[in-house]
């Protein structure tokens, strides 16, 4: 699928997009936090024998979109970390994606992940191969099982557009990725704080864009509009990672209610 889409569109859109990207990179950018250490880092989590994310080009694109669209600084070259490495505790966000079943976590991996969550870390689990109806694929199912070994009492619950993730920057009606899937995300909430977000929409697939500027995967069934909404969901997840539940503050409530009232598709 990746190669097919690339061949079809590379000549149509590739060169203009490449030129636009180069132009954009040439424009002066707002400086970010000191040395980008405190910036958003969609840090790829690797377990078992995995050596890269399911959609390797998704994290840098995610950062790029975030920087372009918002004031948030982000690492344009995201890092990765293995679950059993001591450095897993050095950032507050992890991005775990996959298309295949996860091999059972080792005790060192479980220990590392427990330490990460004990410090208040947030993880996005992105299923790159969900079922047709949006049900979890092999990765999604096994990742949930393995995370249940990491966190006791880690039963995911469905979160919809009432959750702060759906309003942390954009007002979103539903979750979407490369596939439309279910309207909701799943989340593990502990102590009132969301610790794990499960997406069965292949969010990385919608974000992945190669060095030539071509989207690597087609988005179904909504096409570019759905891709845009998927990017917005990714931006919202970033903002949630950086601002926590800021948009749940009471000061925002009247504004958000008014805007949702005029947007189609929202329940009053």
């Amino acid at each position: 699928m990746r190669g097919h889409v690339g061949r079809v569109r590379i000549f149509t859109f590739g060169l203009p997009l490449l030129a636009a990207c180069l132009l954009a990179l040439a424009l002066p950018r707002r400086a970010s936090a000191f040395g980008d250490v405190g910036a958003f880092d969609p840090r790829v989590l690797l377990t078992g024998t995995e050596t890269e994310a399911a959609r390797p080009d998704a994290p840098p694109r995610w950062s790029w979109e975030l920087v372009q669209r918002t004031s948030a600084p982000a690492r344009l070259r995201p890092t990765s970390v293995r679950a059993d490495e001591p450095t897993i505790v050095e950032t507050p966000f992890l991005y775990w994606s996959g298309a295949r079943a996860v091999s059972p976590l080792t005790s060192r991996e479980i220990s590392g992940l427990r330490q990460f969550f004990s410090l208040g870390g947030l993880m996005l689990v992105d299923d790159a191969a969900p079922g047709e109806e949006g049900q979890p694929g092999p990765f999604g199912k096994t990742a949930r099982g393995e995370l249940a070994r990491v966190l006791s009492d880690a039963t995911p619950i469905a979160i919809g557009d009432e959750n702060v993730i759906f309003k942390s920057f954009y007002l979103l009606r539903r979750a979407e990725g490369r596939v439309a899937g279910t309207k909701t995300l799943d989340a593990v909430v502990r102590g009132g704080m969301t610790r794990i977000i499960f997406s069965s929409h292949d969010l990385g697939g919608a974000l992945a864009r190669g060095p030539t500027g071509v989207w690597e995967y087609s988005v179904t069934p909504g096409g570019d509009a759905q891709r845009e909404r998927a990017i917005r969901l990714a931006v919202n997840i970033s903002m949630f990672a950086l601002c926590s539940n800021y948009k749940d503050d009471q000061v925002h409530a009247p504004w958000l209610m008014r805007r949702r009232a005029i947007l189609p598709g929202f329940e009053p």
Binding site: R30, A31, S32, A33, F34, G35, D36, V37, G38, A39, F40, Q68, R69, T70, S71, A72, P73, P86, T87, V89, E90, T91, P92, Q115, S118, L119, G120, G121, K167, S168, F169, Y170, L171, M193, E228, R232, M239, A241, L242, C243, S244, N245, Y246, K247, D249, V251, H252, W255, L256, R259, I262, L263
Partner: protein, 743 residues
Amino acid sequence: VTTTHLASSSDLPPWAVLLAGLLLLASSVILLFELRRRERGGVAIVTTGLLAVMTLFVAVLRPVRIASRESLLGGRVVVLADSSRSMALAEGGETRREVRDRVMAKLLDRAKEVRFTLLGFGDGISRPLDPSKKPTDGRSDLASALAAVADSPEERPQAVVVVSDGRLDDPPEGSSTEALKALDRALGVPIHVVATSRESPPDASVRRVAAAGAAVAHVPLPLRIQVGCVGLVCDELTVTAKELRDDGPPALLASGLAHLKGGIGTLDLTVTLDRAGPRILEIGIGAPPGDAIKENDRRLVTLDVARERIRVLHVAGEPTNDVRALRDWLKGDASIDVVAFFILRTQSDAPQADQRDLSLIPFPVDELFTEHLPSFDAVVLQDFDAQPYGLEKYLPNLAHYVRNGGGLIMVGGDNAFVKGGYANTPLGNETGVLPVHLDGTPGATPADLAPFTPSWTEAGRSVPLLAPLRAAVGEELPVMPGANVLGDPRRESLVLWQHPSRKAPSGVPMPVLAVAEEGNGRTIALGVDGGWQLEFSQLGARTGGRGHAALWDGLLGWLMRDPRFEPAQLSLPGGCVASTPSLLRAHLVPLGPGATPGTVSLDVTRIDQVSEPTAGLPLHLEGKRRAGESVEFVLPALESGGYTARLHTPGGPATRFDFACETGGDEWADSRPDPNRLKALAEATGGTFLFADEDVGRLPLPPPTRVSSERHVVPVAPPWAWTLLATVALGAHWITRRRSGLS
């Protein structure tokens, strides 16, 4: 006194003397009966008979002459003289204290027959009375004084004399007879009372101010104010409640009209105090003409205003890990009410969506930094650029807010300090409120992007506000990705962390974390944006991420004057009485190992602005910190008013303490004497009640006791002489009886 008298021999027990006397009497009676059988010589029989019996009796008693030197010992009487401030009130040109001293002098005229112990009563237990000392006690606690006399190991008194105006705290007004009797139960002696005053001076006053519950910032506080009026025409009095402020005249908080009935009126007023900490309220009345005591027309009430919740304005220039960490900490504390505004989008960002698809709201800078600013206890500007959002024009407001008692923390980041345009503003200019100078020259370096680990200063190691952090992480700090370039610390600032290599313009290490007192407020400059790494880092993993919360707990706690983070606790053990020296005690945080005790200094200034400068102010005192952890300062006599004391410890931030000095206080609030209470006390305990203008000599004090100091016992005659005399007399009587026909 030397006296001489006769007595029987000391080796005779009393029963033997009694028995001898009975035998003497019986012998005399028998002799009278025998006379009826005589034939003649009745007179001779009686004479010789009685003489024989008497000499026999004397031979048994063997009389001795006792010469002794004796003295009269007066009974012990404890005089309890009222030493409370109400004794300084005057009627008829003479103070109650002067009347009291006159009564004492009259009592002492009887010192030859009575042993007086003069004690003063007021606050707590009684103390030896010093008549030359002004009555300064803030209470009139007679009950405690009586209990102390009863518990004393000294000789129990035979009577107690109380000299007072009757305006007592204990026993209270309206005490029952049983309650008054109970005061004397342990002593069990009569309590005589002399009342110094009969009539009340013409006076209107604020008698009592009571708050319904604790004072909480921003929460209306009901006050119940009782006013009184005696000897004046006043059916109603205007009552005002004002807050003493050092930025201007007292601010009117509430006012009302109290209607008086029977000389007493009660008014409920509700006041709202915006600032937490000690606040001084002035409750005053508009007294009618003829008011004899002006000092009790106003009361100064110190309220320790608590925070129900700390209200924090958190403004961040961009969302970062540091912003998230601080927000999570703020939101995780139920006692903190956070109002947050984060800049999520700038003009250069392209969200590729209509405004209605965004959840963004306008940043209400105008409202926040004008009308709402005083409602916040602290403002956190995190990585925030003042220029693009129109904050610059409100920075004077922010500086004014700090000087009036607000708290400000500027947290570093690419948009903070110099880069944020604060250098030439009321926050960062020469007279700015931030703890550090900022370079405002064109082209000034805003940040040093070289990674570094902040170094602890000596002050940072010792201040209580960083103690929780040091308890969590010890000496270790995470590597910071860079630092805002900060200038020299201001004179009053305290640097807690510094850059290991970069220097400030004066050559001292560049401050990284500095704190300062500014006016009535406090400010903190934290020139890094890597505080979140106290949570997410190898150090954070080893310490369970507790370092971040510990850092902010200390910073915000110090900003809010949480006693846990103050280097000292100040108190006035005896309160402050106007025109009287008072003692201010500072309990200091224990010194760390190896720290050397230094000199601590105290500055006292006046809170309420007065038209003329107060003599002797500002006051600067110094004290030596010795082995103990307390330092005491003797404050000179201060005028009635509100004051601020700031204690400076070497290498530590200042500790502030607000207090009020009143001329009369509670003791003058009700100027009426209460002779009826004194009379009831005397009657209940079997004592005598007198007014001072009556004859104090009438008091029934205990009579003196004779005490022998020297005693000489000499026999009147040797025992053989008495025996011989009795034998001769018995012989003569026997001969007489025989001649008279008796056997």
